[in-house]
Amino acid sequence: MFRSRFFSTGLRVLNQAGGVKPVKSKAKAKGSSGKVLNNGPSGSTNGSTTGKVSPSEYLSQIKQQEVEQQQFKSSLLQGDYPYEPKIISNEPINVELLKYKPIRLPKTHGHEVATIKFRGYEEDDIKLAGEFVSRAAFFLGIPVSSIIKEKTEKRLYTVIKSPFAQAKTKQNFHRVTYNYKVIGYDANAEVVDLWMSYVNKYAVEGVKYSAKIHTRESQSFVKELDDLKDFAVPESYKDSNDPIMERVEELLASDQFKKHF
């Protein structure tokens, strides 16, 4: 009884030390009880290699750990650690920042103003484009989301391998299209316009950009629409400049059709 209990404590110490894989020793212990007793001494000898501890020593170890934990917690409340950057370059700060992930401003309200979507075959190009967009947003003062990955499309093309006959042997090709997006928050329409035009000016080749821009109306928008007097829904095709409808009117007015009316 004593032996088996001692063995179990020994196991616990081993697990905490991380010297021996705990899973293996557990698997050993899972066997029949006789086996455990047989393996008992060998397990304890393994424990001695990492440091066999008596119950009183074990208790003192735990106390020591608690004291260390307390010291660590109190040190966290002291304030910031002294910051000493390892790389100091002479570059301007905006150039230096290119080496790091784009900085993002915190949202003030969380109102979505624009969603820019990126689409392309090269994932690196899209990530470059996404980072450019979020950096531009940072310098314009627009809070943005991280570069969010959307569903990747894979289009499969299976063709006959041979140029002639032997149609049983096929070859597979696929075109992978990656999709990413960046969401902009809490910005005026003018700033969003500026952002879009800047992004458009320096667009990355091989990436398709598309943007969804939200606008907000006043609460009385519906009432204002009702009050509009000049507003009229166009009457069917007549007001539109549809060439087909112009031709229809032309045809119906022609001699060939007139005689049937």
Partner: protein, 115 residues
């Protein structure tokens, strides 16, 4: 040898050219030219608010138009080889032309798939 087509038109510059490609090009140009007329006649023929005779007249005019003005006569052809069969629409290429280019890695985004 008499000129084969009822009107003169430009030979396509963007693709491989053979007799069948030229024939198809002619149909495409003719369809584009008569698109408004055909759709107007179709509109009249299918408008149930118009008198029956008017609709019949429109249908007769529509069916008396030459076949080469119809959209159904146009067939996709390979830009690289002029072949009309097995054309992959995404690339406008025939299967062999597509396979050559895909294995060479010329088509953006297309790779050999294996799973």
């Amino acid at each position: 040898m008499p000129f084969r087509f009822p009107v003169k038109f430009e030979i396509p510059k963007h693709s491989y050219v053979n007799a069948r490609v030229i024939k198809d090009q002619f149909k495409r140009l003719q369809y584009a030219e008569h698109e408004v007329q055909r759709n107007a006649l179709k509109y009249i023929a299918r408008n149930t608010e118009l008198p029956g005779n008017v609709r019949l007249e429109a249908q007769l005019q529509l069916s008396s138009m030459p076949k080469y003005t119809s959209l159904t006569q146009i067939r996709d052809r390979c830009v690289a080889s002029g072949n009309g069969k097995w054309v992959i629409k995404d690339f406008k290429l025939n299967r062999t032309a597509f396979r050559d280019r895909a294995t060479a890695g010329i088509i953006p985004g297309v790779k050999k798939a294996s799973w």
